[in-house]
Symmetry: C2
Subunit: 289 residues, 2 copies
Amino acid sequence: MDAIGRIEKALSAALAVAEGAGRPPRLAEAMRYAVFPRGARVRPRLCLAVAMACGEDVPELTDAAAAAIELLHCASLVHDDLPCFDDAATRRGKPALHVAFGEPLAVLAGDALIVLAFQALARAGAAEPARLVTLLGIIGDAVGMPFGIAAGQAWECEPRVDLGAYQRAKTGSLFAAACMAGAAAAGMPAAPWRAVGEKLGEAYQVADDLRDAAADEAEAGKTTGRDAVLGRPSAALTLGIPAAVRHLEDLVGDAAAAVPDCPGRGALETLILVEARRLVPKSLALTAA
Amino acid sequence: MDAIGRIEKALSAALAVAEGAGRPPRLAEAMRYAVFPRGARVRPRLCLAVAMACGEDVPELTDAAAAAIELLHCASLVHDDLPCFDDAATRRGKPALHVAFGEPLAVLAGDALIVLAFQALARAGAAEPARLVTLLGIIGDAVGMPFGIAAGQAWECEPRVDLGAYQRAKTGSLFAAACMAGAAAAGMPAAPWRAVGEKLGEAYQVADDLRDAAADEAEAGKTTGRDAVLGRPSAALTLGIPAAVRHLEDLVGDAAAAVPDCPGRGALETLILVEARRLVPKSLALTAA
């Protein structure tokens, strides 16, 4: 099965538990709506790619780690889109969850997806408890305080923003976790993978800023132009678009160069460079060519 | 150290991690605001009491499980109080978190507290990975879908409410988890403790309905009369107050009778009966006398 097939199967299996008999039906529907149909699945694909490069030996643990990371990402999108944050009307080309299901179910779907991530991880990790402990630490740190996604989002609520901390936490943390979890699921040391994920996360943040500034809504699959409207930090607005594109390319090169020694190192470096081309909005790739 | 001392110390230790250098300060403050000063700490005290009755041998694991349960309870209160749910002005005798810190930080504090619960549990469970796996399952199920707190809250969003499922999930699940986690932290089978927790949870829900219907706000420490205003299910409103008080007493008796055979069984039965007296609002205890 290819990487996307594995990821979709693992996500569906996790959601199937939440959809067990006796569930409140609308919350179960809202959770599935938040996770399917899929976005790019960038983080879980990264997790699988690293695990395979490390010679994975317990694929069901990799799958659960990847699914947990994507569930947490989906949860953060649902909560970020709420009226009290971005008040986004659309997400992945369809109405945002709070628009489709109402605000209460959007709050609860985010909460239940966070919990589901840990439930899925715990279930798959029962046979490999030592690796489970490492994975829980990596993934918990990437979403909680003081450096995870929730911390990153909270920097938007501070009177003075530490821009580096904001971006590292809001985007970099989960990319770092995706790489580190891939290694940990394969029983390899996780720490050397942090730099790869952080560089890719930074690149992805720049690409996201570029999409918000320059892509049309059909290509982005969500409301664009929000950074300027909301006065949020944006590499595209600060550096200008051509310099931001060059910065993105440098970051991707740094990420590929940071890949630690491992059985699949060459293939992973190539994958990173190929995938990175998909990050830049089509209109900009032409502009910068 | 007495039970409350252990619980407060474990909660403070968990929060200290979230308050590490580099944190967004207001989210860290909001999280502490959600957890301190303490409420009754009913669930973590129950967890410790069961662990001690089972002859606990790894108290730091009990403490982490109890803290995780309380952090999840506090998270659920913060999210329940949001304008899109109860829109509560006060909680534990002070402004509700979203009133004091704003709605964005209330959403994020709840999210970060959920994650912190799993972080704290994973850290303490590293030395006892088999027990950790059991605890993660018990605690995850108690807050997620299809039967945990989030599911319980979601029944409020359904056109047709399964009242039993609603109350079991919204309140019973975390009481059951508190008892089961106490046993699991002590290395004993958890399943026989479910019934004790479920009965106590049901008793606590009836007591909460009574407080909402009949206690004044100073005694309850929060806005009262919300069940009638919001049309929520309430034993006090359905049965009438005297019958609801009798029902509560029956449930507490059932809980004490359900305590499984264990080294501290007698002491635990007594503790349950004594603690239960604190559940009934003072004015009603007089009325029913």
